[in-house]
């Protein structure tokens, strides 16, 4: 899977290395949900800086992760959305409801720790 998930204290950090197939998106979603339960994490950061495209399926999966995590008391931050990707997403009306967003990993960690 082109995603590595690291545990960093009370947080999980998933960084996406390259474009994802639908199956890999589902794997990522399931691993994150399982990881939060296993490590009793308080926050999850998903770094998507390597993605040139975020389609409706990816957006919905991220929203699902955020919503599920919230029910378990963990916050989800999506970081590293590129300007072109952000523009395309807003044009197509794709939203990441219930997920927090931050510029990059650093800003994401800052958002969770403050």
């Amino acid at each position: 899977m082109p995603v590595s998930i690291l545990k960093q204290g009370p947080y999980l950090i998933a960084s996406v290395q390259s474009a994802l197939t639908d199956t890999e998106v589902i794997d990522l979603r399931d691993s994150l949900l399982a990881g939060v339960a296993k490590h009793r994490s308080r926050g999850v950061i998903v770094d998507v800086a390597a993605l040139d495209i975020i389609d409706s399926f990816v957006a919905r999966s991220l929203t699902t992760v955020a919503r599920t995590n919230r029910l378990r008391g963990a916050r989800t931050v999506v970081v590293g959305i590129q300007p072109e990707v952000a523009m395309a997403m807003s044009q197509f009306g794709l939203r990441l409801d219930e997920a927090y967003t931050a510029l990059d990993l650093e800003a994401g960690i800052q958002l969770l720790t403050h």
Binding site: V78, V79, I81, P83, V85, A86, M87, M89, S90, Q91, R95, L96, Y100, T101, A102, L103, A107, G108, L111
Partner: protein
């Protein structure tokens, strides 16, 4: 085969006859230079064309165009006339001369000259036909050249101005760490709104901004597509982790936005730029205080 050769010879002969006619024609136009120029100027004034220019100016331009025109008829080369037309367009476009005026003026010259040829040759209808055959294609080509030069020059000016407006219009300014201001001046269209969004997003990334104040005090009106673009810009900024505060919505624009039913729920809006900056500073935990009282302000 033989017939072909003869046909070619005939054409050559006809061509020779044409060019000798054209020479005669040019000589006639040179002889009649003064009355024809005056006639042309009179017709221009009568038709109320080039109303932004004085009659002296019209007459001197008319003289130059007339001479170039006759030269072009004689040599068949329109380059000199083209250059002059371009130069003329550069001078008169900033004064607000319209396309229909320029075309009208050129067509008037064509008419004036044709009329004079008609008067000269009217007793010899055959010759007149051949003179007009020689004159008309050349004259039409010249009219097209002048018209096209004018329109091209106009389009060049318009393109240049659009470029200038585009470059000037959307600065993204950093006022504090993590705080950007985007003042928008002038009417927004969909193209400009898209470009603005692009600059905003790049600005957010470069400056690592958390809050952006978009000030639209200088925007006279807003329609549905533009409102949508603004909403998109705000959403896209949110995806990059930056909040947007919109300031300076005039009463008119606020009413339009309400009437259009644009969903502004994710948009924070503050009355004026000062309020917007204060709110942004509050969100970023900045505190601005005066270090001492200003003299004369508190009636000492």
């Amino acid at each position: 085969m033989e017939q072909d050769t003869r046909a070619v010879e005939n054409t050559a002969v006809a061509h020779d006859a044409d060019s000798s006619l054209l020479r005669e024609l040019v000589a006639h136009l040179r002889d009649e230079r003064t009355p024809l120029r005056e006639e042309w100027t009179r017709r221009i004034t009568e038709a109320q064309l080039l109303s932004v220019m004085t009659s002296d100016e019209i007459f001197s331009e008319v003289t130059a165009v007339y001479d170039n025109y006759v030269d072009a008829l004689e040599t068949g080369s329109i380059e000199a006339l083209e250059a002059y037309a371009k130069n003329l367009s550069e001078r008169i476009i900033p004064r607000g001369v319209e396309t229909h005026e320029v075309l009208g003026v050129v067509l008037l010259l064509r008419d004036v000259l044709a009329r004079s040829l008609f008067e000269k040759y009217q007793k010899e209808p055959n010759l007149l036909t051949r003179v007009l055959d020689a004159y008309e294609p050349a004259a039409n080509r010249i009219a097209v050249t002048v018209g096209v030069s004018f329109v091209q020059e106009r389009e060049r000016v318009i393109r240049q101005q659009q470029l200038a407006i585009r470059e000037l219009s959307t600065p993204v300014l950093k006022v504090r760490d993590q705080l950007l201001i985007l003042p928008i001046i002038g009417a927004l269209d969909a193209g400009r709104a898209r470009q603005l969004t692009e600059q905003l997003l790049n600005g957010i990334r470069e400056n690592r901004a958390k809050v952006v104040v978009i000030d639209i005090t200088g925007v006279p009106s807003i329609d549905m597509p533009v409102a949508d673009h603004l909403v998109q810009a705000v959403r896209a900024s949110a995806l990059m982790g930056a909040r947007v505060i919109i300031t300076g919505l005039s009463a008119d624009i606020a009413q339009t936005v309400v009437n259009l039913g644009v969903d502004l729920s994710m948009m924070q809006s503050v009355g004026d730029l000062q309020g917007g900056i204060e709110e942004a500073e509050r969100q970023l935990s900045y505190e601005v205080t005066r270090t001492r009282d200003q003299p004369g302000e508190l009636g000492e």
